[in-house]
């Protein structure tokens, strides 16, 4: 028995002192890419308010729907609007200045600008947001011609 214990101790000492051999472990990093599809479509794709100069108009907050279609990843949606040929978009209506606001259903209104603003920051696939628009027409105008505004919705995958 004593010999057995001594033998085990010696064996343990030998194994601790053995050098580690190089190349005996390796790793493979596997990066998984969602390669997501993002596809949105807004409907209806036009609105013609009935408001004349110095008046306002709005839709219901469920008037427009952003269909997320084949989108299979959570997204954020930025929105911006253009000036018209004769008018500029602003925060308060005045001469040749109009206000265009967007209100997500159940959310609060944001006045649009010519720069992107994130209106929805986390939309999961299959969850189609709805929203409404409101407009304050210019108080006065240098033209009586119809003016067109383009509202651009841009969806991005969450990082």
């Amino acid at each position: 028995m004593k010999k057995l214990i001594i033998g085990l101790v010696v064996l343990a000492m030998v194994s601790l002192s053995l050098p580690v051999s190089a190349g005996n472990t390796d790793t493979i990093t596997v990066t998984l890419s969602p390669q997501a599809t993002i596809d949105i479509s807004v409907s209806p794709n036009s609105w013609t308010p009935t408001a004349s100069l110095n008046h306002s108009d709005n839709t219901t907050t469920t008037y427009f729907t952003i269909d997320t279609l084949d989108t299979d990843v959570n997204i954020s949606i930025d929105v911006k609007a253009s000036d018209t040929d004769a008018w500029t978009i602003g925060d308060t209506a005045s001469h040749n200045v109009f206000v265009l606001g967007i209100t997500p259903d159940g959310g609060s209104k944001t006045n649009l600008t010519t720069s992107d603003q994130t209106i929805w920051d986390d939309v999961s696939p299959g969850n189609d947001p709805q929203f409404g628009l409101n407009v304050d027409m210019p108080t006065t105008s240098s033209t009586n011609q119809n003016q067109q505004v383009t509202i651009t919705f841009t969806a991005s995958a969450l990082a």
Binding site: Q35, S41, N45, S46, W47, A81, T140, V149
Partner: protein, 331 residues
Amino acid sequence: MKEKILVLLIFGLMLMTATPVIFAGNVDNVTVTLSPQATASIIVNQSSWTPDAGLGESESTAGDWATLTNNGLVQVDVTIKANNTNDWTLSSSAGHNKFLLQWLVKGNSEKRFEYIPGYQDRVSSVTNTKWFGQYFEVGEFGPNEVFYPSKIKFYVYSYGSYTGTYYASIRNAGASGLPIGSDLINGSTSVSLSSGYHWVEIPLTGSYCLQPGEGYTVTIHTSFTGSEISVNRNYDFDGLYDEDMSYSSNGGVSWSHNGPGFGADDDLCYELYGYNVSATDISITPSSFISNLSPVSGNNTQNFGLRIQMPTTSSTTQNQQTEITFTATAD
């Protein structure tokens, strides 16, 4: 073989670590069409004018006699037209049964019209009762144009350091070239002068239109009661023995060509400034009156005046009426 596997492995890893592909279709638009639906709307604050001019004469209103205002919400263009009367026709010049009607708009650049150059030759004291005047015809030395006088300068001599008020006016001229009637336009200014010769500039208030070729008078008086200030004469500047300098010893009530310190061929030193006038014929067909008149308060008005040249001769002595129509169209 091992090398090929290694290359494929690295390539595969590179593919797997690439940015996730975002497919097209992540952008969509909504078009909003805004319709102003505005109605052009204007208002003119004068509804009638009854000139005093008789046959062969012309007359103008002040340059700001009328104001056209865009009282709508949209920018407009405005045309103007008038109609013939029962017996007379609108024309580009006056003639038998033909009259000329023009709209006048005051220009922006001030310039000198009539004048007698400054000359250091004192006449006599000009006071609150001792007034001096000078006859002139538009176009005599300056441009022969319709214009709105804006200021008169008089060349004076101060016998010391005095502060006082200087008054100027333009009056019609009688047949002899003397001032008659009340002031057509006038103004005043308070000035402190040191001893010596000075030009004193007196701004005119209001708006009155002077006619080319027509004769008028300028007058000057002061608030002084003694011999503080003297006007100056330019001896026979116009080369005429024409009695066009005048004097009143009773505060402008009566005038004569005989005055202290000047003769019949002397001229009173002054300069008359004014604004040119854009005069456009009105015809029976609409012509552009104002373009791009803003609806914004402060920029939504256009002042104008009217000028008429009566027919030289007429087939009737009945009063005649013409109607001037302003039409606004939204831009």
